[in-house]
């Protein structure tokens, strides 16, 4: 027994990597379809988007780079599907230099699916350098911040932006954020001054940071990590990458909990631990 416990505590970490890999791969290849429940903070964003009348202009800020793609890209796809289904007008942009490619890909993909046209139904503005300064600049003079869209078309020539002079002309902003700049930037330098409603999506690792903002109503909802994206996919009734990944997520979490429990039990059973306690 003692030998087994000591061997367990000195387990080669590569065996754990292998176990995690297998537990992730199997559910992806053979999905079980474990249930996903919608949390109130996710429902609030869904309900807010549903409540907006057709033709309302919303801004989706893709504040992430490829590192945040697995969690935030499915959120972007789900939000865009809902927005286009509701006939909302969508402005896309990013505060991250490496986010422009991903953002354009998501917008183009969903717009094509929904039969929407660039310039009349949606516009992609591209990367706005300057972090907080970019948001402040958009609030003061939208056309000075973005003289052209991502494709180089002058803002004045885009019908969708004919009446947009400031962030005050946008009803709802959602920042899908992998870090700073992101949700906090939009809140501190945008919402407080220009009065639009703000929702957020973030990676799981940064989610605990945004719950205080949610609790005080500084943001009206929060999509946290892959789970948040899966819940949103469930709400719009379109299964995507996030729901497909939830089985794998649950399986790996189960394995990690099991490993923590076994290793703690093994540690407390060792003579070394007994000695320390005495």
């Amino acid at each position: 027994m003692s030998t087994f416990i000591h061997r367990l505590l000195r387990l080669d970490r590569r065996i754990i990597f292998l176990l995690i890999g297998v537990m992730t791969l199997l559910p992806l290849l053979y999905p079980v379809g474990l249930p996903v429940y919608v949390s109130p903070e996710v429902k609030k964003i869904y309900d807010h988007v549903e409540s907006l009348p057709a033709g309302t202009l919303i801004l989706l800020s893709f504040d992430f780079e490829p590192g945040g793609k697995p969690e935030l890209y499915p959120m972007a796809i789900a939000l865009l599907r809902q927005a286009f289904q509701k006939n909302l007008k969508v402005l896309g942009m990013t505060l991250w230099p490496a986010g422009a490619g991903l953002a354009e890909s998501a917008l183009t993909q969903v717009a094509q699916e929904a039969g929407k046209e660039r310039g009349t139904d949606y516009v992609f503005l591209g990367y706005a350098p300057g972090d907080a300064n970019a948001v402040i600049s958009m609030g003061q003079d939208f056309r000075a911040a973005f003289p052209t869209d991502y494709a180089g078309t002058k803002i004045a020539a885009i019908p969708l932006l004919a009446n947009v002079r400031s962030l005050r002309d946008i009803a709802y902003v959602i920042s899908l954020s992998v870090g700073f700049p992101g949700i906090e930037t939009w809140y501190v330098y945008g919402k407080e001054k220009y009065g639009f409603e703000l929702g957020g999506g973030c990676t799981a690792v940064s989610a605990p940071r945004f719950y205080p903002l949610l609790n005080t109503g500084q943001i009206n909802g929060l999509l946290g990590g892959l789970r948040g994206a899966a819940e949103y996919e469930l709400l719009i009734g379109a299964q995507g990458k996030a729901i497909a990944g939830m089985d794998a997520q649950s399986a790996t979490h189960f394995l990690i909990i099991l490993l923590i429990a076994i290793c703690n039990a093994a540690y407390f059973l060792t003579e070394q631990a007994r000695g320390r306690r005495s």
């Binding site: 969690e71 350098p129 907080a132 809140y187 407080e192 990690i256």
Partner: protein, 243 residues
């Protein structure tokens, strides 16, 4: 399928597998992928910054809209580069002073308003609800109570001007429990985030293992394993010779 997409898929799979080879042990294939990543990231960032900032925000407004006053910020930006020339490095202080002054002026009031005043307001919420003519205690009130206890006890824990004995010690102890719960929640979310990254990567590797992409994942996985075995054999031979 376009040739670009196919090449992109093979490159993505190859680099992912080279990076994952680190899970076996540190090896030259991992280092190669790591260096490519750093180089490409910096190159991409420089290119984007050049076109989006230098061209779109500086050159075009000056040339097309005759905003010649943009020479001033451009000059301040150039002064920052004087850091690389020791005899005139002091000039960069002018730009840094300007930058610090502007940033502080913009950020401090907004940060205080957003993260101190509004958060304090969110902490002090009603602990009972007035329903009709009588007071009730709802689950929302329980949340408010927990937040209040958590904030006060954690503040006590970080209050070092008074010795932690007696009642102060007991309150600070409660603060520690709240901190432990928050660390646990943060760690749980971190695990979830890391697993999501793995899921995203494996999902793409599964997609690229199909015949459409020329079984890129399977072919390159075999190639990486052979490469690692070859490298490992070379390492062992070197060790034996040294002995």
């Amino acid at each position: 399928m376009s040739t670009e997409a196919l090449i992109g898929a093979w490159v993505a799979v190859g680099l992912s597998l080279l990076i994952y080879s680190f899970l076996y042990k540190d090896n030259p294939f991992f280092k190669l992928a790591e260096h490519i990543f750093v180089g490409v990231s910096i190159g991409y960032l420089l290119t984007i910054t050049y076109f989006q900032v230098m061209v779109n925000k500086l050159y075009l407004p000056m040339v097309q809209q005759e905003k010649w006053w943009l020479v001033v910020p451009a000059f301040l930006g150039l002064l920052m580069l004087s850091r690389f020339i020791p005899p005139i490095a002091w000039l960069s202080r002018i730009s840094f002073a300007f930058l610090l002054g502007i940033s502080s002026g913009i950020a401090i009031p907004r940060q205080i308003s957003s993260f101190i005043l509004q958060q304090v307001q969110g902490t002090i919420k009603p602990l009972v609800t007035l329903g009709g003519s009588r007071l009730t205690f709802t689950l929302e009130n329980l949340n408010s109570l927990l937040i209040l206890i958590g904030v006060v006890s954690v503040l006590f824990y970080f209050f070092f001007s008074v010795e932690h004995t007696g009642a102060v010690r007991r309150v600070a102890r409660i603060g520690i429990y709240f901190l432990m719960v928050s660390f646990g929640a943060a760690f749980g979310y971190t695990v979830m985030a890391r697993m999501s990254l793995l899921i995203g990567r494996l999902d793409e590797l599964i997609v690229y293992s199909s015949a459409t992409y020329g079984h890129a994942t399977l072919v390159l996985l075999v190639a990486v394993i052979i490469g690692l075995a070859w490298w490992e054999r070379g390492q062992r031979n070197t060790t034996n010779i040294q002995r």
